[in-house]
């Protein structure tokens, strides 16, 4: 059966409602407190004090760090998460196509865009573009010729997976259309999925 609906709803930052963006910003980044934060000592599991002392190093979600590190009086300094550090950047520079990006981070690009703000040299920005452009050719190739190596999909990050899914669907639609122009009407996607689930429940 052909799925006719092509979903191209890549919601990305600054889309306030984007699920992907919310999930990506929950990733943690190491940061160091510059000032005392009274009453919030419980955020640091290692100490039992009431206050969060200046100089404490913690791993906090990116959405929080972003808020704290910006503005006229930053409360923290942020350090890059592991995957965006020079050592990892070198790996990507050497050969981005060979890397298992899924292991680097589920939302490598999305999170990278947020992280890039805190990298004054602009190296992170550069590596994001470099990684994407280098890998894109391979991605397109994969979308056009699935069947070659299904395990290759495991090495894609979530953005790439979506692009792959859409690209592959479009390729299939085109192939089908070229082969026979009569398109049978099918049940709506949601109806089909609902049926399948029902059947599993019954069994």
């Amino acid at each position: 059966m052909i799925k006719l609906k092509i979903v191209l709803e890549h919601s990305y930052y600054p889309n306030y409602f984007a699920i992907e963006d919310i999930i990506a910003t929950q990733e943690k980044a190491p940061c160091k407190f510059l000032v005392n934060i009274p009453k919030l000592g419980k955020l640091n599991a290692a100490s039992e004090e009431d206050d969060l002392k200046a100089g404490t190093s913690l791993e906090l979600p990116v959405w929080l760090v972003q808020q704290l590190a910006s503005g006229r009086q930053p409360l923290v300094t942020i350090d890059l998460p592991k995957s965006y550090k020079p050592a990892y950047r070198e790996i990507l520079k050497a050969d981005a196509t060979a890397v298992d990006l899924h292991k680097f981070g589920l939302y490598f690009y999305e999170l990278g865009c947020h992280i890039a703000q805190f990298d004054n040299q602009g190296d992170v920005r550069e590596i994001l573009v470099h990684t994407f452009t280098t890998r894109f050719k391979q991605l397109m190739d994969l979308a056009d010729n699935i069947g070659l190596d299904p395990s290759a999909i495991d090495k894609l990050d979530m953005l790439e997976r979506k692009l792959f899914k859409d690209g592959n669907l479009a390729r299939n639609l085109l192939n089908n259309w070229l082969n026979n122009s009569i398109i049978p009407m099918g049940a709506a996607t949601m109806v089909v999925n609902h049926r399948k689930r029902k059947r599993i429940n019954v069994e």
């Binding site: 699920i19 919310i22 009274p38 919030l40 996607t189 949601m190």
Partner: protein, 198 residues
């Protein structure tokens, strides 16, 4: 305070993007309570901060800022949860039609149910208002027709179907029929009939 609850709420949506899960009343209430709690604490601290003479005792502003960031995060997650469910619901109106299967209906909150009915009414009203003689059904003719009649196979025991010209067709499981396209498209969308091409 680090938004774990709000995160797990949104995570629910990510795992099953094309399916409506039961409305998570418990978690939504918990997050709302957390927001109120953080807000109250901030309110208190801001008052203390106002009455403080500069240079004495501790500065509470950093604490307030951190809590505020958490409030905003929680709010964002709650809104995203509801918004994305509504989008799903809207899509369901187009794919299942105006009557949802009961198993799915149970998963909606009361407010969502109300929204669905309203949306359905508005859509119906709009479709009746356009086109000639009595409106235009936008949910059919999604693909350009090649012939007026098509071959279909029945997938379930549906019962009698009365066609526009008055003839009755008995739709039994696995029976095949040659029917006007316009009359069976909706049943195909609902998965009752299967279109046999060639």
């Amino acid at each position: 305070m680090l938004g774990e609850k709000a995160y797990s709420l949104v995570k629910e949506l990510e795992d099953r993007q094309c399916e409506i899960l039961p409305y998570n009343t418990d978690l939504v209430t918990e997050i709302a309570t957390e927001i109120v709690h953080l807000y109250d604490q901030n309110h208190q601290d801001v008052r203390l901060e106002d009455s403080r003479t500069p240079g004495t005792s501790t500065n509470l502003m950093p604490t307030v800022r951190m809590r505020h960031a958490a409030i905003q995060r929680n709010q964002r997650c709650l809104l995203a949860y509801h918004y994305n469910r509504l989008r799903l619901l809207r899509q369901m109106r187009w794919e299942f039609g105006s009557i949802l299967p009961t198993e799915l209906k149970e998963n909606l909150s009361a407010a969502e149910n109300g929204w669905f009915n309203k949306y359905s009414t508005i859509l119906g009203k709009y479709m009746r208002s356009i086109g000639e003689n009595g409106g235009l059904n936008l949910a059919v003719d999604l693909k350009p027709p090649k012939a007026l009649f098509i071959e279909v196979r029945c997938l379930v025991d549906y019962g009698k179907l009365e066609l526009n010209d008055g003839t009755n067709v008995l739709l039994k499981k696995n029976s095949q029929h040659f029917l006007p396209r316009s009359e069976c498209e909706e049943l195909i969308r609902r998965g009752i009939l299967q279109h046999i091409a060639n």
